[in-house]
Amino acid sequence: MKKIFLLQIALVLLGTLSILSCKKDYPVDDDGLLITSRSDCYVSGFELLGADFQTVRTKLAAIDTTAQTINVEVLYGTDLKNLYPQFSLVTDATLDPKIVGRTDFSNLSAPREWTVVSGNRKVRKTYKVFLTVKQ
């Protein structure tokens, strides 16, 4: 009985120690998102919504992960000042700056830029979004 009792105490101590030590294995950044060991850093998808929250793309956005550009063709009659972009990123990556609401894409000669930050927060790649309006 005494042996089993001692074994149980040892197991409980081991458990608490491992829980305490595991906290260091799950670091979290300022936004509360997990920092992992992934170094992949790319945009996997791009959606653009208009003021009525319906898509304004005529076809899928062309994403070039080497050149770090996104080419989107939007419908004729799209209001470029009030658009809502949506990025799909690789696992664990984040976007900088955050998209908070309506975005102005009206300056077609000066493409908007967003930086993708990898899961381990070490790799940063800046993507340019080029818009063309269907004529």
């Binding site: 009525d52 004729y76 009659g77 269907k134 004529q135």
Partner: protein, 317 residues
């Protein structure tokens, strides 16, 4: 001893049919839903009953805090729902008489229980205020019963249903009047025109059915020469899933209310809305900032080049 107490504890009381009260009774249900708008109707179902041995119903009446507009009436048929789910009406008196705030039906049939429907047409005097109703019933043994409702808010906004805008004919829309006009009227009253409706089947791009401000970029006004003097730059925000129940009259239960029109943000809004589809809509602010409106597209027709719209409009300035 424990066993005996368990047995008595488990015994259920048999269901007893409740004894009917020997007084005159009444009950009220509000049947209409959504914001109460001037020109619209508030609908109630008012029921009264007395045990037949004591007497029968003599009259039912409704007194509104604001006299109802023309078209206010108390139905002189008593409705019940049949087993097939259909409402069946039985005439119990002559059509109701309305004098000022009071609407009354005098019973001619011999009945001691009836449910009458009351339709109140909301008058202009009630705009922005509250309206309440006092329903009452009288029985032949001298009893009277009264049901006082809560105060119902009447909205400040206006509504206009089923306007037809037709390309190259009545394609000039005025939010102030909530009407569509032709080019001749537009030329005579340029300041009234807030929107122009066009339908174009262009080959390179999808233009479709569109609503644009008269002062928009001419590229959004293909193949049309506007009358001189149309300078309103209305602000337009496209919407898609705002299928207001009172404008659309389809299965969705969304309501656009005064507060939605008042708080809509038109900063940086464009002055055009291209390729509108049925069940879509636009939020509009007139150039002078006086009206905020929501225009719902009931239907579009490519063959006749028409668009059917319904509007809810609020005076904000």
């Amino acid at each position: 001893m424990v066993f005996a107490s368990l047995v008595t504890a488990c015994k259920d009381d048999e269901f007893q049919i409740p004894a009917a009260s020997d007084k005159l009774q009444n009950e009220l249900i509000k049947r209409s839903l959504g914001p109460n708008i001037v020109g619209g109707t508030i609908e109630f179902a008012y029921a009264a009953a007395i045990v037949p041995e004591k007497g029968k119903l003599v009259s039912m009446s409704v007194e509104a805090s604001f006299a109802g507009a023309a078209g206010t009436y108390l139905e002189h048929r008593s409705y019940s729902t049949s087993s097939a789910g259909v409402d069946v009406g039985v005439a119990i008196g002559n059509p109701s008489a309305t004098t000022d705030k009071l609407t009354e039906v005098v019973f001619t049939a011999d009945t001691s229980a009836a449910t009458l429907r009351y339709y109140y047409k909301i008058p202009e005097e009630a705009r922005g205020k509250t309206v309440s109703f006092k329903f009452s019933a009288k029985s032949s043994n001298g009893e009277t019963i009264v049901y006082q409702t809560d105060a119902y808010e009447v909205r400040k906004m206006d509504m206009q249903l089923d306007l037809i805008a037709k390309d190259a004919a009545n394609c000039y829309i005025s939010i102030a009047d909530m009407k569509t006009y032709d080019a001749a009227f537009a030329a005579a009253n340029p300041g009234k025109i807030d929107l122009v409706y066009l339908y174009r089947a262009l080959t390179a791009v999808t233009y479709g059915h569109s609503l644009v401000a008269p002062a928009t970029d001419p590229v959004y006004l293909p193949a049309i020469t506007l009358p001189a003097g149309l300078t309103n730059r209305s602000k337009i925000v496209k919407a898609f899933s705002v299928r207001d129940q009172q404008l659309a009259r389809i299965q969705y239960g969304v309501f656009v209310d005064d507060v939605d029109l008042l708080s809509k943000d038109f900063d940086n809004a464009p002055d055009f809305a291209i390729n509108l589809r049925a069940e879509g809509g636009i939020w509009v602010q007139t150039a002078d900032g006086k009206y905020n409106a929501y225009i719902y597209v009931n239907s579009v027709n490519n063959t006749t080049k028409e668009m059917k719209i319904s509007i809810k409009r609020l005076t904000v300035k």
